[in-house]
């Protein structure tokens, strides 16, 4: 776990070091309008940090480009960020033709590692040739997910055929995790240069965390994303390890019921009361 946390910290630093660039033309980055129209309620605001994440990932993985898309249950979508204009184009392509690695990754809940697009023509008869036209030869899609909570995918593009190395795969999974956390923690809404004040950790693979997520989701009648946001916000604001908070929730020692009619919709605004029992 230590190795993993160190990797996440290193990647966060890489992302922070990426310079801000003006938004891409065509609205792929920064067109809050396109995301609002996609109906993805949690994900509004300035996408600067996600765009920087895409560029940092492209650099770290020596990829031709990286794209990030979100999807809701109803299949509505938006290209949230990309490292460059071509990647934004290819990313958008999947939604235009309704097929592709990102679409498949989100549908199946598995990464889709297409190291040779020529071999995928049968599977993606519209997407594969079109992506090839844009210069892509390999695409690797990583779902942004925690169990049943699946919000989209991160696509890594290469203009050369060939599988990702083990090291690159590990880096890619870590970037995907940070992309998910960035969205959940609302960091994509933080002004440029300011890291939002949130947990600098990872999504633990511990069972208690996800059990707590499910329990809270049922208890508060919110979706899984909101449940995780509440857990993380509580851990952060009370300066307690996330896993401890999760254990208390599962053990019914912690009752995260929001404060009456005064609570607003911002992340972590719920007044969380400690049950004495």
């Amino acid at each position: 776990m230590d190795v993993h946390l160190r990797r996440l910290a290193r990647i966060r630093a890489l992302i922070a070091d990426e310079p801000e660039l003006p938004p891409l033309p065509g609205g792929a980055n920064g067109a809050a309008g396109s995301r609002r129209s996609a109906g993805v309620g949690h994900f509004g605001g300035a996408p600067g940090s996600l765009e920087r994440l895409c560029r940092a990932a492209a650099r770290a993985l020596t990829a031709s480009g990286v794209g990030l898309s979100v999807m809701t249950g109803e299949g509505m979508h938006g290209v949230v960020a990309a490292s460059d204009a071509t990647s934004a184009l290819v990313e958008e392509l999947q939604f235009t033709v309704g097929e592709g690695p990102c679409v498949e990754a989100v549908a199946s809940g598995r990464p889709v590692l297409a190291s040779d697009l020529d071999q995928m023509v049968t599977q993606w008869p519209a997407y594969a040739p079109a992506a090839r036209e844009c210069g892509m030869r390999a695409v690797f899609a990583f779902p942004l997910q925690i169990g049943a909570l699946r919000i989209g995918a991160m696509d890594i593009y290469s203009n050369r055929r060939g599988a990702l190395s083990v090291a690159a795969l590990n880096e890619a999974f870590a970037f995907a995790e940070i992309a998910l956390l960035t969205v959940l923690d609302g960091q994509d809404q933080a002004p440029a240069g300011e890291a939002a004040a949130v947990l600098q950790d990872g999504l633990s693979a511990r069972a208690e965390l996800h059990q707590a997520q499910g329990l809270l989701s049922a208890h508060l009648r919110v979706d899984l994303a909101e449940a995780m946001i509440q857990l993380r916000a509580y851990a952060f604001s009370h300066d307690r390890p996330l896993l401890d908070v999760a254990r208390d929730v599962v053990g019914r020692k912690l009752d995260l019921t929001p404060d009456g009619p005064d609570s607003d919709d911002d992340h972590g605004s719920a007044n969380l009361t400690l049950d004495d029992r």
């Binding site: 809940g109 598995r110 049943a148 059990q211 499910g214 989701s217 049922a218 208890h219």
Partner: protein
């Protein structure tokens, strides 16, 4: 140690082979495998770990996942019979876990506390490649019938072939995709445990038993039911045999092992 009926062994192998066909669901397959391994060897519990691309072992499924047992399986990613079995590619046997603290200072006390006295770990290997390990745990101290060991290893071998089968035929990346998909499915199950624990006002362990009984009785897929419940708690099916929600009564004939 009672000998296992040859017919039952054959049935299990056919069943395992059957699950390889349509719509192969890795987590489902591994749950089935660990349950059958436990049954065939009259063991107390069986757990399965698989390696990812970086050679790290991941706990995938167990025949009994009550919280106090979960730790015994999970710690073996770092230390224990399954870990040793994975690194050496050879079976690992320990018949007296209580005195194995020098061998496994972290794992042995945990296993003993959980009530286990012996363990047999079998490698999942094919032509020199080891992809994981199957750990069979017993509360009793009877020496296991050597014939049974061969059956267990054969079961592990069948599982290995099943897992590598798709990879050999298609893209090498299939194993990574499969594994990460399965790891995510595990999380779905944990989320569903939490939801059910709340809805039925039970512990997460009891919630899991409710879920497993429900899917087994109706021949449904655990991962699919879990996903439905996790996504929409309000429309969760009635998991209680008695038919009444929020009942904490035992569900009759299906008492937990």
């Amino acid at each position: 140690m009672p000998a296992v009926a040859a017919e039952r062994v054959a049935e299990v192998f056919v069943e395992v082979a059957d699950t390889l066909v349509d719509g192969f669901d890795l987590v489902e397959f591994l749950y089935r495998l660990t349950e059958r391994a436990t049954e065939l060897s009259s063991a107390t519990a069986t757990g399965m770990l698989l390696a990812d691309v970086s050679g790290r072992l991941n706990f995938m499924a167990a025949s009994d996942e009550r919280t106090h047992l979960l730790e015994v399986f999970q710690i073996q990613a770092d230390e224990g019979p399954c870990r040793d079995c994975f690194t050496t590619g050879e079976p690992v046997i320990e018949n007296d876990l209580a005195s194995a603290t020098a061998r496994w200072p972290g794992f042995a006390p945990l296993a003993t506390e959980a009530g286990f006295r012996s363990v047999h770990a079998f490698p999942l290997r094919l032509r020199g490649e080891v992809i994981g390990a199957l750990g069979v745990f017993s509360a009793g101290t009877d020496d296991v019938d050597p014939a049974l060991n061969r059956v267990m290893q054969a079961l592990a071998d069948v599982a290995t072939i099943a897992l590598l089968h798709e990879r050999a035929l298609q893209r090498a990346e299939i194993l990574t995709e499969q594994l990460h998909g399965a790891l995510n499915s595990r999380i779905v199950i944990e989320q569903a445990k939490g939801v059910v624990a709340y809805l039925y006002n039970v512990s997460v362990d009891e919630a899991f038993l409710l879920l497993r009984t429900y899917v087994r009785d109706r021949n449904l897929r655990l991962t699919e039911v879990a996903r439905t419940i996790a996504l929409n708690p309000a429309s969760a099916p009635d998991l209680n045999r008695a038919g009444a929600a929020n009942s904490t009564a035992d569900s009759g004939s299906d008492s937990p092992a």
